[in-house]
Amino acid sequence: METYETYADLVAAEDVLLFVNAAITSTGQREFRSTADEQRMSLDFLHEYVRVNYRELYAATLALDINDHNAVEIIRRLLVSARETDEKQRRVEGRLIGARLAVLPPQRVYRLFGQLRRARVNNRRTRAIMRDWLAGRRDHGFDAVKYRSGFKTAVRHGHLPVTDELGDFLFAPRRRGHYEHELLDTYRRARYTHSALYELPFTVAEGFAAQHGIPRAVFLDRIEPRMTRYERLRNQESARAHRTEVEVDLAAMPLTRLASYVLSLDLSVRSERRAELTGALRAAARRVAGPYAGTWGRVAAVLDDSFSASGSAQKRRRPLAVALACHFLLAELADTYVPLWTSGRGDALLTYPYGPTPIGLRILDALDHSPARLVIVSDGWDNAPPGLAGEVLRVWRTRLDPSRRTSVVHLNPVYDAAGYDVRRLAPSVPTSGVRDAEDLPALVELAQFAEGRTGLAELRAYLDDRVKLFTGTEGTTA
């Protein structure tokens, strides 16, 4: 009886881990080797399977560093199927959902509310969740302007009380000739006056600018103070093309986004701005490493810059961006650090996706340096020759390093739709999905479960800790 339970536990632990990997990596968008439909269908199945079989664990994954797309998906499914569970579990889920909504970007939350409306989910609990979240928003007027249709849907669907003025703004915009709320009035005026639109949020102003036929250069120049920091980063090249400038503090950007930006630049531009870009990447990495800087000892990294790291039209060079970000982060975490790119090139800043994936040979090169930790960042398609990486790692573990002097971990930024998991290099090597390099320390911790030797009890304990940390800290601030 006991062995049976242990076996079931192992299966459960494995199921949940592969779901976590999927929830970290997949966004239902096209990948290098699978279409958007394949990704969505595969992900849909996993969500349904884990929700039905391990509902508590499914809800608990909200506390992990899963991506926003899957967080929204989990919340939606939990709310849609709320009656399948008991009161106690519902309360736990409510806390988790509340905590997660608080950290999600507002546009995603508004989109979720729209999905709930389409799914005709409108029970007391859902309305309460919407009310609580909206109560936490700083300025309803701002939301009504920036996320107009989303806000309107939420108010209408959740029967949420708003001020008369806001109600008129949303549902009867022609009734008033003037609004007391400054931003609402600016929005009204922007329809007629050019100068008013520069006081609106960037995305809203962009629409008005097109309507008024304002040249892009003039618009970017004057709207600059109103841009958020991501908008600044996104519009760098657009501004350059129009011979104007949008100021941005690159060093303050999150590491992976910054890496994506760097990879979007031409090689010549990258080498021209080498000092600036490298400095920004290093600063971002140092911020992430924080107190852990220099504590990881000898680290070797095998980083995949093969052609498949180019991602897809939707996730442009995403796998390579993750690898580049990991490169800079590991350089900060490590005492001595050896980076090995699969193509054999040495200049990380000038990397681009090219060539096959001889990852087995690179792992051998890395082991030559006898590192304390070996980190592999790759999509797991080892093809020159296929399966060599797995063999090298297996023989290394069984014959040459049975005492585990070197710990090996494989981080995979790509969800393999056909395999319902991220692709593994070898069964003996813990593999974890990775979306942002910033999560690397947490993922290395999580990956130990993926070695298949830890059971459900440990995993449950780990998740409980994360849930407590997540809901506890968020609960006090909200």
């Binding site: 020759p385 090298v392 023989v395 014959r399 040459l400």
Partner: protein, 392 residues
């Protein structure tokens, strides 16, 4: 009869997608004095005037231009054009463009040709002239007009199941100068170019090439083929250097296995090579087509190649023939071998003249025979009169 010489090209590990296996061929020292580039035809409908008032119309997705330099050094060539009509891009001709020949000099140091066309021409025009000796049973038409026109069916690469995806996700090796395409582990086509840059530019042209019926069916019905994964015997490994040499040994073993087992059908066969043109400095390169011996129940490829003085392949493009096509080629070459004498040919093939007439009929060549011979053979009677030879 000679074999193809792929010296200097090494097979790297294959990349598999579904039923398609692509084996990259890497050249250690690229050929720099002969370059190949794709020539996109603005209008793919083409017509050739052979000169007797008739037109030969075809759909040509792309052509190749071979460039060479007199002093043995390749110089950047620009403005490669086929004919003056292409000078203004907006003046795209809607009508068919008349061209004299399918291989044509395009400038003093350039040669334009259509991929696989030489090979196909060679196959289609196999014993084109018909019987050289007028035996009684051959129709007048056969003697005066020969086999023309013959038709063969082929599939464009885009319609071969999974080939587009396999080519899209294929990771091109540094220094790669060629590829071997396998569908269901049968060699479908081999493609070799002189220089890695040419290969990068022409990689996607494989999708516009033509493939035999067999390839289409193999790709359509094949289950995913297995990857040949590396295996290291751990009992023999005692240190890191040993592990490395075992890993490198896997690479060498694969290259050898590939050439021997997978590509054997193409590389071990002897071909009849017809030289069509010399080019390059001092005629260093030869453009030729090759035909297989048309052995039945064996993998047979036709193709075209550019070889250097030592016979090493600089350019190669091959196409696998289907079983039916091999049978037709076999029949024609056997007939030609015995001077188109049906009885002698039948004896050599180990069957009766009646059976041979049936085979000619099923191969689609019955128009060459007199009607009463065919009809008699259908009733099981032999109606040829071998003794009444009337000269040829």
């Amino acid at each position: 009869m000679t074999q193809l010489d792929l010296t200097g090209l090494t097979a790297e590990p294959a990349q598999v997608w579904g039923g398609i296996r692509l084996v990259p061929l890497v050249r250690e020292t690229p050929i720099t004095d002969l370059r190949l580039r794709r020539d996109l035809f603005t209008d793919a409908w083409m017509a050739v005037e052979p000169g007797d008032g008739s037109y030969y119309a075809s759909y040509i997705p792309h052509g190749f231009v071979a460039d060479w330099a007199r002093d043995g050094k390749w110089q950047a060539a620009y403005g490669t054009q086929l004919c003056d009509e292409y000078d203004q891009p907006d003046d795209t001709p809607v009508h068919a463009i008349p061209m004299r020949r399918l291989v044509q000099r395009a400038g003093s140091r350039r040669l334009r040709f259509l991929p696989l066309h030489l090979a196909l021409e060679g196959y289609l025009a196999l014993h084109f002239g018909g019987p050289s000796v007028l035996w009684e049973e051959w129709a007048k038409r056969a003697v005066s007009r020969g086999l023309s026109p013959r038709a063969e069916m082929a599939y464009v690469g885009a319609s071969v199941e999974g080939l587009d995806e396999a080519l899209r996700i294929f990771e091109i090796h540094p220094g790669q100068c060629g590829v071997m395409v396998y569908t269901a582990d049968a060699l479908a086509a081999a493609f070799v170019v002189p220089h890695p840059d040419d290969y990068r530019a022409l990689h996607s042209s494989l999708l516009q090439d033509l493939y035999g019926e067999l390839v289409y069916q193999h790709a359509y019905y094949s289950p995913p083929v297995r990857e040949f994964t590396a295996v290291i015997e751990d009992a023999r490994v005692s240190d890191l250097a040993g592990l490395r040499s075992a890993a490198l040994g896997q690479l060498d073993a694969w290259a050898e296995d590939h050439d021997r087992h997978l590509a054997g059908g193409l590389l071990d066969e002897s071909y009849e090579i017809t030289q069509l043109r010399r080019m390059g400095a001092a005629g260093r390169y030869r453009l030729s087509r090759f035909l297989p011996p048309f052995a039945l129940h064996r993998e047979q490829h036709i193709g075209e190649t550019i070889t250097d003085l030592k016979g090493r392949v600089a350019y190669l493009k091959s196409m696998r023939l289907s079983e039916n096509q091999v049978r037709r080629g076999h029949l024609l070459s056997q007939l030609a071998r015995y001077d188109w004498n049906l009885e002698d040919t039948a004896a050599a093939l180990g069957s009766s003249p009646v059976e041979l007439v049936r085979r000619i009929r099923s191969a689609g060549f019955d128009g060459l025979l007199k009607r009463h011979v065919v009809e008699a053979a259908q009733r099981g009677r032999w109606d040829g009169r071998p003794s009444s030879r009337q000269g040829g």
